[in-house]
């Protein structure tokens, strides 16, 4: 249109009626389709999911807190969007874009046949994607909370979740995360395809909220938004969830050791090395260790019989079998040849594989056995990944 010669334009102008349509074609009217709530939701969710994905896939375990907050933000956004789907502006409403499978199929057939069908809001296939994205993100939030509670004994459900149940939730969480990545890929492909098909930049539409008004568009009945009602519903939901979640997260985690470390144990074992929390080895390992104290990692660490008996009782009563933390569940699977060398367990080896020898040899760490150099909560046996902090001076 823009390179139409002037004389043709002049002719068109002379023809009156054509002229107005020509002007309209040069400057098509763009109507507000996506309101500011929908747009800010969309881009905030992009940011939250990007942060959650980056911390979940790329960053180390010590980023767990950022990951959880990103997930919480995504969940909050989803709830807000669902509420807006009932009380929002015309094209924000579920009733505007959720259609029957029959209609969706008809739309798909029309697409394949190359018939132009344009929806100003979400088209039926786009709507399916929106619902799928909302559902999968919500499921990620739910399984995330379950895994956080069971595996890491943190968050609102730590008080009730077993490690085993949490681990199952974690596996589902991972599968859902892959599914979400796939959906995001399809969503982007769909937006590009539809932009090409309808000759309109849909990404721009999600930025400024406007789409061209064209003859033959599917037009939706106008709906008045109820922002105050929506805000009230979201505020009540948010406040209630926050209070309940916060209160529950203060409860002691299921199977998290609470007994204070025996002072005699701490003194005797802590004289030469970290007094490893009793939940870090199973009973059989502690028994074997106590039976061999005369040659304990190359040193005589014999105890008088009374002390030995006291420590044997203490260790048996607080061994890995009595706890349900991640270290207790994983470290109880010991290396058969070295049943009480924690750093020889498959779990320990796997989890520390990426750490250079220089870090362990550094003055700030001094050996693989000095858990507390990096794990601030090692003494409690909890080893929450958010408490990992490798000392700066240890990093080569």
């Amino acid at each position: 249109m823009h390179d139409r010669p002037h004389d043709q334009i002049a002719t068109a102008l002379a023809e009156g009626g054509v002229a107005s349509s020509l002007v309209a074609a040069r400057q098509p009217r763009r109507a507000r389709v996506w309101d500011s709530i929908v747009r800010s939701f969309h881009w905030s969710l992009v940011a939250a999911i990007a942060l959650a994905a980056a911390t979940g896939y790329l960053a180390g375990a010590s980023w767990i807190d950022i990951h959880v907050w990103a997930g919480a933000a995504a969940a909050t956004l989803i709830v807000g969007r669902v509420v807006w789907g009932f009380f929002g502006t015309t094209h924000a409403r579920f009733s505007d874009f959720i259609v029957s499978p029959k209609t969706t199929l008809a739309h798909a057939r029309a697409l394949i046949a190359g018939r132009s069908e344009r929806h100003r809001g979400h088209n039926p296939l786009g709507a399916m994607m929106i619902v799928a994205l909302l559902l999968v993100t919500a499921a990620l939030a739910v399984t995330g909370v379950l895994a956080f509670g069971g595996v890491l004994k943190a968050g609102p459900l730590a008080f009730v979740m077993t490690f085993a149940a949490g681990w199952t939730a974690r596996q589902i969480h991972e599968a859902l995360a892959l599914m979400l990545l796939g959906l995001i890929g399809l969503h982007i492909a769909g937006a590009i395809f539809e932009s090409w098909r309808t000759r309109e930049n849909l990404v721009r539409a999600m930025v400024d909220g406007r789409k061209e008004v064209r003859p033959g568009d599917h037009v939706s009945p106008q709906r008045q938004a109820q922002p105050l009602l929506a805000a009230s519903v979201v505020a009540v939901l948010f406040a209630a969830t926050a209070v309940i979640a916060w209160t529950l997260s203060l409860l002691p985690g299921h199977g998290v050791p609470v007994a204070k470390v025996d002072p005699v144990y701490a003194k005797e074992c802590g004289a030469c090395h970290t007094a490893y929390h009793p939940s870090l080895l199973p009973r059989a390992s502690w028994r074997a260790l106590l039976a061999g104290l005369d040659n304990h990692f190359g040193e005589d660490a014999s105890l008088d019989p009374a002390t030995a008996t006291r420590l044997a009782d203490y260790l048996a009563a607080n061994a890995a079998e009595t706890a349900d933390t991640l270290p207790a569940n994983r470290l109880r699977l010991v290396d058969a040849a070295r049943p009480f060398t924690i750093t020889a367990t498959p779990f320990w080896t796997r989890r520390h594989a990426g750490i250079p020898d220089a870090v362990f040899a550094s003055k700030a760490v001094r050996g693989r056995g000095n858990c507390v150099a990096c794990h601030a909560d090692a003494g409690s046996g909890r080893f929450y990944p958010g408490n990992i902090d490798v000392p700066d001076e240890a990093t080569p």
Binding site: A271, G298, E299, D300, S302, G369
Partner: protein, 134 residues
Amino acid sequence: MKLKSISIAVAAALVTASAGALADPARQAILDGYAAKAGTKPSPERGKAFFLAAHGGGKPETASCTSCHGQDPRSAGRTRAGKAIEPMAVSVMPGRFTDPAKVEKWFGRNCNTVLGRACTDAEKADFIAFMASQ
């Protein structure tokens, strides 16, 4: 000079304190006990040689007392697991060698670890005499 008088007072206090530490009756009793059983006079010089010697006979990682305690008894040592060991020198740690059970426990463990045998009463007496002189 005010500064000078303070220095003298501090020095005097230190001398008194170390003299007091040296004269700790509990440690003296332990030392006398080992000396009596050994039938020899405790020798700080022999104790020093014993402390610094490479003994062998024990575990390969710990050939000498100094493997963990370090060359200087007035400085902290370090266990093989990386934990600091408070200095052995009585002048720095006045509480050293005053608890008979603790003394026996650590001679028992460490002589076996370093020498592969129990220490003699004479060796123990010399060792304490050396550390008391430090």
